[in-house]
């Protein structure tokens, strides 16, 4: 293959919050909350011409044996708020936030992403996730009401509704023409959605940013997740620590796109990965070993095992063999972790088998099963491995998760990126300004028959319905006299403050 035909490696990075991917005990590890940490890492990867910066979401602190889990990094800021701040101190880097479709409402989420896209000049992305977790739901008005069966249908309708809101302003609706006195086009922002989960209508406040729609990201390996990604997402995060499994996933997901009228380039597959770089392969291997042991302390090893076993294992030796007792299904034991879909018994069986085959201690086993795709070696070794992975259809690139905050990608950017650039598989500089430009995505996928920014208005049926400005469901309102007073500084026309 000629050099010019080589696939480009897409790179993103995450500032890890919760979970044991950060070596917090390292003296170089700084705050995972302070804004300076976020700025430092974002500016580092922008220097490396990465596609985007990614933040996960946290809505409840994890608990273990009825108490707040205290062994890992805990606590993080609200991600869209952080990314809006980062938009001010970066110029090209994409900004991706995870937002749950279960504990939010489409109007607000659509508005916040439209805002981020405007503030950043077209660099917003949304990682759409769902939850059916009543534990997390205890922090919200509605509690953990959502049955698991409904979470995907709600998420799909949530995304559809958000797209309708983004499309409620067309390109020329914001006129701001001082000469003619026309600020907006008539009906700008008008929307109406009536569905199983959402029945809403009115006027959307926020004309979308340069991307029209933020880039849609999805993560998940299940069949339903793959299908959702193939139909609706533009990036999918995956997690495979073996190349053959990664290739199988890659081919399967890319194959599914055709049935939705999409080409393989319309969806990028980006596994999360670690990179451990040192002067030589030997030094890197030793360092990677050290990192693993720091990430999985003896206490952490036991806690992870307890999470699967559902019982107190504090009497066991982390450097000894796995317990010979069976797991218990005690749901109260561990909360807030997203693990063990296969169930405790099956997970325990697999872990025991693996430990016996490889003669692992508890701690060694936890280190092994917690591993993700890791590139370990000299800068040249790591660059070659990443390039090979991408060229052989294992991935379109990677989301790098540094084990140190905030300096954990300095070596990668300073030493590996230049080699990828020399190989012609990573950009020397940004060639576009939006995240869609970086990812090679031209336009957002739209539901059939739907207009979009720059297109003349929308479905006439919808418009006719929405003009009626329906009130909320259970109480008919004529909408005339409801007045938003006092905390809103709108003029009280012709009216004296009787209280004054």
């Amino acid at each position: 293959m000629p050099a010019t035909a080589k696939k480009q490696v897409h790179l993103a990075a995450q500032l890890p919050g919760i979970h044991n991917v950060t070596v917090w005990s390292d003296p170089r590890s700084e705050s995972q909350i302070a804004i300076d940490s976020f700025i430092r890492l974002a500016q580092t990867i922008e220097r490396g011409k990465f596609d985007f910066f990614f933040l996960a979401e946290g809505l409840r602190l994890r608990e273990h044996k009825g108490q707040v889990y205290d062994l890992d990094i805990a606590g993080r800021p609200e991600n869209l708020t952080v990314l809006s701040a980062l938009a001010a101190v970066t110029t090209h880097l994409g900004l991706a936030a995870t937002v749950n479709a279960t504990f939010n409402e489409p109007y607000e989420v659509a508005r916040r992403f439209a805002t981020l896209d405007r503030l950043s000049g077209g660099r917003a992305a949304w990682n759409v996730v769902t939850s059916y977790d009543a534990f997390t739901g205890e922090n919200f008005r509605r509690g953990g009401f959502l049955p698991e069966a409904d979470r995907y249908t709600r998420a799909a309708e949530f995304l559809t509704t958000a797209r309708e809101l983004w499309d409620s302003w067309s390109g020329g609706d914001l006129k701001a023409d001082a000469a003619t006195g026309e600020f907006t086009a008539p009906g700008a922002g008008r929307f109406a959605h009536r569905g199983q989960h959402f029945d809403i209508s009115g006027r959307f406040t926020t004309p979308p940013g340069p991307q029209g729609h933020p880039v849609i990201i999805q993560s998940g390996e299940s069949d339903a997740g793959r299908e959702f990604a193939a139909s609706d997402a533009e990036v999918i995060f995956s997690k495979h620590n073996r190349i053959d499994a990664a290739r199988d996933f890659y081919r399967d997901v890319k194959r599914r796109l055709a049935k939705y009228g999409r080409s393989p380039d319309d969806l990028l597959i980006l596994p999360t990965a670690n990179a451990v770089v040192a002067d030589t392969d030997e030094e890197a291997a030793a360092y990677a070993e050290e990192i693993s042991r720091e990430l999985v302390s003896p206490q952490t090893a036991i806690a992870h095992l307890e999470a699967v076993w559902g019982r107190d294992l504090s009497a066991y030796d982390p450097d000894g063999p796995l317990p010979d007792i069976e797991p218990e299904d005690d749901a109260h034991f561990l909360k807030g972790h997203s693990v063990f879909r296969k169930g405790r018994a099956e997970t325990a069986r697999q872990w025991r088998k693996l430990a016996e085959e490889r003669n692992f201690s508890i701690r060694e086993l936890v280190i092994e099963v917690g591993g993700r795709q890791t590139f370990v070696g000299s800068p040249q070794t790591v660059a070659d491995a990443i390039d090979d992975y991408v060229q052989t259809e294992g991935a379109d690139g990677f989301v790098l998760v540094p084990h140190l905050t905030p300096g954990g990608l300095d070596d990668f950017v300073d030493r590996v990126v230049p080699i990828l650039q020399e190989k012609g598989v990573h950009r020397d500089d940004y060639t576009g300004t939006t995240l869609r430009d970086h990812l090679g995505l031209s336009a957002a996928p739209r539901p059939a028959g739907w207009g979009g920014p720059g297109q003349p208005l929308r479905d006439e049926r919808l418009r006719a319905e929405s003009v009626r400005d329906r009130p909320a469901r259970d109480q008919p309102l004529r909408d005339q006299s409801v007045r938003d007073q006092s905390v809103r500084d709108q003029p009280l026309r012709d009216q004296k403050e009787t209280s004054a």
Binding site: W24, S25, I33, A34, I35, I39, R60, V68, D70, G75, R76, P77, E78, T81, A85, L86, A88, N104, Y107, E108, R111, T115, L119, G121, E138, R141, G143, A176, A178, G181, F183, A185, P186, F198, S201, G202, T205, Q299, D469, R470, P471, A472, D474, Q475, L477, S481, V482, R483, Q485, S486, V487, R488, D489, P491, L492, R493, Q495, E497, S499, A500
Partner: protein
């Protein structure tokens, strides 16, 4: 609510419960909204109407306000499009319509500024208290201690229809002619709003200082004895906690509310660190401050422990030449096709005339003023480059920031977590 001692003023004057002694520094806030508070301001020369939803416009405005050593700026917001008729949406196309999320806007401006307080408005009727609490907490982290929050109830049917989860009380045309009448049917929404603020404050306290210990010897990142479930149970919702976001630089970001009547005065007494009121003259100011003090007493707030700062709102049109500002406002009224009407007093004049008014009204016990520029950037620049130097000449306004936090600017202490006290 901590103490229940009510107003304990040594001089026995109720106004002193919320007022400041003479000679205390004057505080100035600026309320930013669109192209300014006059509906025709967007058509003025120098306005940037095509940029009202973009970052650079706001960055320039806030840089100017910070240049003027302003205590804080507020950002308006709402869940529906702006409207000339305030209680229902309109279909007008000749006024500014469209807005971006104020919390995200404030966060965006945080790294571009160093001292000025940033106070976004949010709705508290249709939103999730948990999301609001961590958003404002994050703004405090992002600004290193300059976050405020202006919670706002929403009773418009059109806003409720954007969420489809609930309805809100319906007011009659008669109600909307009187602010006391308006607030009556909204008491439940204000009560719920107070619960939202209280839940947020508990979440902000739920991580004590020093909860992050990084004790490698025991393998513990956290001291979990310093992280608390809040178990908030309100009449309308519950929140388990703790917050996901650790304690912020200010501990408690600053809560600001605008109030025109008894119910919102009580909301302010329960919930706010700063209350903005809308008097129209000096006697009116004194009367409102007395009402606020009564609300403080009724709610049992201990203002020694939790001071309540009082600001008066004014819409301002400022020009150096006498009479010029009034002519400019008249011209804008003509463009708009109606005379500007507002809940707040509308001032036109020179910076020196405004300084006279501010000092006169302040003697009733006000801590400061929230000025709403009639047209942006003109009237903001007139505040920062005309009014502020005038006040400095009179020795009543700072000549440099003496603090880096918003609480610091207002002389308010950094609270200790309530859970630390209990423990």
């Amino acid at each position: 609510m901590t103490g229940t001692t009510g107003v304990t003023d040594p001089k026995g004057a109720p106004a002193a419960a919320t007022g400041t002694p003479d000679g205390a520094p004057l505080h100035l806030a600026v309320a930013l909204d669109g192209a300014g508070w006059h509906p025709a301001a967007w058509r003025e020369e120098g306005a940037r109407p095509g940029e009202l939803l973009d970052a650079a416009y706001w960055a320039d405005l806030v840089a100017e306000a910070e240049h003027g050593l302003i205590d804080f700026v507020t950002f308006e917001d709402a869940l529906g499009l702006q409207s000339a008729a305030f209680h229902l949406p309109d279909d007008r196309t000749d006024q500014v319509r469209g807005s971006i999320d104020a919390v995200l806007l404030a966060a965006h401006l945080a790294p571009l500024t160093t001292h000025i307080g940033l106070v976004p408005t949010t709705n508290v009727t249709h939103t999730e208290p948990f999301h609001l609490a961590i958003g404002i907490a994050t703004l405090d982290h992002a600004s290193k201690g300059r976050a405020g929050w202006r919670p706002q109830i929403s009773s418009r049917a059109s806003d409720a229809a954007h969420f489809g989860r609930r309805t809100t009380p319906q007011l009659t045309e008669d109600d909307v002619t009187d602010s006391e009448l308006i607030s009556q049917p909204l008491r439940a929404l204000f009560a719920e709003g107070a619960e939202v603020v209280e839940a947020a404050r508990q979440l902000w306290d739920s991580w004590e200082d020093g909860a992050e210990i990084r004790d490698a010897a025991t393998g513990r990142f956290l001291d979990r004895d310093k992280v608390h479930h809040i178990d908030f149970q309100g009449a309308n919702f519950s929140v388990k906690g703790p917050s996901i976001t650790p304690r912020t630089p200010q501990g408690q970001p600053l809560v600001v509310s605008l109030a025109h009547a008894t119910t919102p005065y009580e909301f302010a007494a329960l919930s706010s660190d700063v209350v903005a009121v809308t008097p129209h003259d000096r006697p009116g100011t004194a009367a409102i401050l007395a009402q606020v003090a009564e609300a403080v007493e009724r709610t049992g707030r201990d203002v020694v422990e939790r001071p309540l700062r009082t600001f008066a709102d004014l819409i301002v049109f400022l020009d150096d030449e006498p009479g010029s500002a009034a002519r400019r406002k008249a011209r804008l009224d003509e463009v708009a096709g109606a005379e500007l009407a507002s809940d707040a007093e509308i001032f036109t004049g020179t910076p020196a005339e405004l300084a006279d008014l501010l000092l006169d009204w302040r003697s009733t016990g006000l801590d400061g003023f929230r000025l709403r520029p009639g047209a942006l950037p003109h009237d903001l620049t007139a505040i920062t480059r005309g009014l502020v130097p005038e006040l400095q000449r009179r020795g009543v306004f700072r000549t440099e920031y003496a603090s880096t936090t918003l609480r610091g600017h207002l002389g308010l202490p950094r609270p200790t977590s309530r859970y630390a006290k209990a423990g």
